[in-house]
């Protein structure tokens, strides 16, 4: 027989809200990107360089990557909370996910401002 576990962490709303807001940010960015690619598609490497050389476009793209990582963190944490029931294993996997996402975020800076 399963008993009621101790709960009452008193958080959760912020993550739920952030997941929705980051989804909107990503959707808007992807629509913007699609519009740009349809209006003036870059034909070669130089074209892509020009597109990503604008500072504002780099910043908006960076916002997209931050949203992606934040969104992915909440989603991955949800999956781990659903399926990994050993607290130690769950914590370890959550730390690995955070490290991986931070790595990707820093890497995206390196790519965008190269």
């Amino acid at each position: 027989m399963v008993k009621l576990a101790v709960t009452g962490a008193h958080y959760g709303l912020r993550d739920w809200l952030v997941q929705r807001i980051t989804a909107v940010v990503m959707a808007v960015y992807l629509l913007l990107l699609a519009a740009i690619l349809i209006a003036s598609p870059p034909h070669d490497y130089a074209g892509w360089r020009t597109l990503f050389s604008g500072q504002w476009f780099r910043i908006v793209s960076f916002l997209f990557f931050v949203s992606l990582c934040w969104h992915a963190w909440i989603g991955m944490r949800n999956i781990l909370m659903d399926y990994i029931h050993s607290t130690g294993t769950r914590l370890l996997m959550q730390v690995l996910v955070i490290l991986a996402l931070l790595f990707y975020a820093v890497w995206s800076v390196d790519i965008l401002w190269r």
Partner: protein, 231 residues
């Protein structure tokens, strides 16, 4: 009519098995529960719960051809044969189609399913306007049959932490009640990554509810209330 029914008697059986029945139904056997009572007259070892036989008590909830529902409100006409009957998924089986609902009711009790009002009781009723009363429609009709909660994967994975759709619908029923004074404590009690936020709005509960209720909508309204008090 052919049936394939989950059988398990922990005193006798090592593991559960499916037993086939081929039963001639009488014209009066219109609902699945009538058919089960007919089968029980042939094989009285088959165990199931039932009481009101009209969809009010919520006793005879079971998994019917892969979907949770009440045997007493499911017409036998239109059921694919052999009709496969299993106990509600995700709860321990006591015997045959009878499950141990303790976990379900523990979660239900954890949301304090009663009116909390510290004012002295008035001479007559605590009055509500018709508009205030209308907010309870769709939230008070739950019969606690557990069809929704046992159809929810989030409850399967975390039955000790996630309240489940039935409990959350009841939580909303008291949050929406103009006579209740404990909204803040109720929201505090639910603001938890497990208790409320294991719901990913997949709406299995809406699909399963034999009373046509919408727990997902109620859960969304609870989240709205939390957003309003936080943002």
């Amino acid at each position: 009519m052919r049936f394939s029914i989950y059988r398990y008697d922990p005193d006798k059986d090592d593991k559960p098995y499916m037993q086939d029945y081929d039963i001639a139904l009488e014209p009066s056997d219109r609902m699945l529960l009538d058919a089960l009572v007919r089968i029980k007259s042939v094989d009285d070892s088959l165990s199931l719960r039932r009481s009101c036989r009209e969809g009010v008590c919520g006793s005879d909830a079971m998994n019917i051809n892969g979907r949770n529902g009440l045997a007493c409100t499911t017409p036998v006409a239109g059921l694919r044969e052999p009709v496969e009957l299993r106990p509600l998924p995700g709860l321990p089986v006591i015997r045959d189609l009878i499950v141990d609902m303790t976990q379900f009711f523990k979660q239900y009790h954890s949301i304090k399913p009663y009116l909390i009002n510290n004012d002295p009781p008035p001479e007559t009723e605590r009055l509500q306007s018709p508009e205030e009363r209308a907010k309870l429609d769709g939230a008070y009709e739950c019969i606690l049959c557990a069809c929704c909660t046992t159809a929810c994967p989030s409850f399967w994975w975390n039955p000790d932490k996630f309240v489940g759709p039935a409990g959350l619908l009841q939580a909303y029923r008291f949050l929406a009640d103009s006579r209740d004074q404990a909204s803040a404590e109720r929201l505090d009690n639910l603001e938890d990554p497990y208790r409320l936020f294991r719901c990913h709005s997949i709406m299995n509960c809406v699909d399963a509810c034999p009373k046509g209720l919408n727990p997902t909508n109620a859960i969304g309204k609870i989240k709205d209330m939390m957003v309003k008090r936080t943002v």
